[in-house]
Amino acid sequence: MKLAARLKSLNTPLTLVAGILIIALFTQLAGISLLTRIVTVMFVSLMVVLGLQLYMGNSGILNFAHVGFMGIGAYTAVLLSMTPQAKLLTNSGLYPVLAPLHLPFLPSILIGALVAAALAAIIGYPLMRLSDAAAVITSFAVLVIINVVMLHWDPVTNGPRTLFGVDYRTTLWMSVIFAMFTIVAVYLFKESRVGLRLRASRDDRYAAASIGINMMVMRWLAFVASAFVAGMGGGLWAHFITSFSPYSFYLSETFVVLAMLVIGGPSSVSGAVVGTLVVTATREALRAIENQINILQIFPQGFFGFTEVVLSIVLILILVYRPTGIMGNHELHWPRLRRKTDVVELNEPKA
């Protein structure tokens, strides 16, 4: 009885996890290396998008800084996991203190995530009192600041140059495991006290304040947790791609992550998952077309930017015709487990 109730309350995340597992199994069985790469990146992106959903979906505040925290996680993790020789090979001007640090993969990305979360905790504390446009501009400012620092702090990040020589550690199943845990964690956060209070403050900040909800603290907790997830996603991504530069964590990546979340539906965990799947599939299809056209040399000067053009049009169309995204405010459910009478949905806003 207790178990059944618990399973029922975890219906949504388990359904989503099942979906992820099916995709992973299929990819494994298909054994096509290109597909494996695409799916692995998709699961890592899924983690980052889920992290964004954790903050944006529950607080209702648009956050541009997210990808910046992903970058912080990536650089921290990489500086810990690479061997001293590899580090000095790619960045000879590295601070001497950083060179001898050498940790296994998992502690590295965990520390990367913690550093991202710690920075978010410091930066975020004063920022959480801002709403609307001011919140958006400050989050954008944070992204710019992180990017400028990454671009020019040569002794740590190798400046604008590519940092290479990272070990390849993020396999398909590694990304699957992280994605599954993140889904469950983000869902549990949404349903937790903090998540519920935060959503209440999103829907009506004055009503929420009147029943004693400290909105700033709730937002802050979500912001820190979201940066933690982003940082971990960044660490995973870095150990998949193995060489990268600060340009990987700026506006174009922000656009993709935002597109995934907004197209899927920012106010539900299922939305983040569905959005990531849909956008990845669309992007890869478009990119294949783009590459094919470039190979055939139909246009003498090359054919670039087609993928982004189509994706941004899709994003605008979604915002015009279905501003709450594909999933709206709904979560996916495994139909059999749910009786008609049992759940009175906590109404989410129509906004």
């Binding site: 648009l62 920022l127 801002l130 919140a135 501009i137 700033m216 670039f304 605008i316 915002l319």
Partner: protein, 297 residues
Amino acid sequence: MINLEFIINTLSLGSLYAMLALGLVIVYGILNLVNFAYGELIMVGGYVMFLLTAFSPLPWLVVGILAIGAGMLASLFTELVAFRPVREKSLTAMLVTSFAISTLLQNAALLIISPRARAVTLPEIFQTSVMIAGTSVPWRNILTIVTCVVTLTLLTLLLRHTVLGIALRAAADNFKMTRLLGVPANTVISTAFAISGIMAGIVSIFWIGRSSSVTPTIGAPPLLVAFVACVIGGMRNLTGAVVGGFVYAIIISLLGVILPPGLVEFREAFMFVIVIIILLFRPEGLIRSKTSVERVG
């Protein structure tokens, strides 16, 4: 270090930034929309200049006017196609839309023209200098200051003495009330976007005058400048935008002089730290406006 050359350079930079900030604020004041696609309007102006100077015999003055017109049309077009349908939905929807338009225009330029920089041939006057009181001053800088003065005068006249201008100012103060008094929302918003586009067009001439080339990503730096200038001056206030533009120019020039060489490359980061501090402690900017609801505690 602070001599006549420094002053004129800073004034010219300030003029440019003031016009830049004005274009952003005029839309923000009415719609609360931080238009991320604003930088791309400058890019559109730049590409029109590139195309016209490279492939047509038109005299330079006409090219400049057409570039400004292109900025205006692009701005009106984005408003009509993208912002109008999402306007009533939510602030987030509008912001994401503007971000999407920015990406769209950038990649459209990439797709249609080229990812590589295109040289824009500018008239002689952009390269020559004049001697004033013993220092050589580029004509370009003087031209920027003059244009700014003329533009601001015209804009002030428009805003103070025409019905449309008065409606625009009223809408910036209280859009709901203005609509209740019978001012058509679409007209006001379109006008704001048109002015914003004209500003972007004017800025594009001088911005590209500095580098003599145009790339698909040229819109990002001016957008960041406009953000900072607006926040410094106060997001809801046109005078504030102008003040903010000049203050930005002064701060960035001084940072270039004051900061030790190793930190100069971080000066953008310093600017954005200033932005965050201002938004936290004085969200209404240097020039106070009516109300500010951005801060909740």
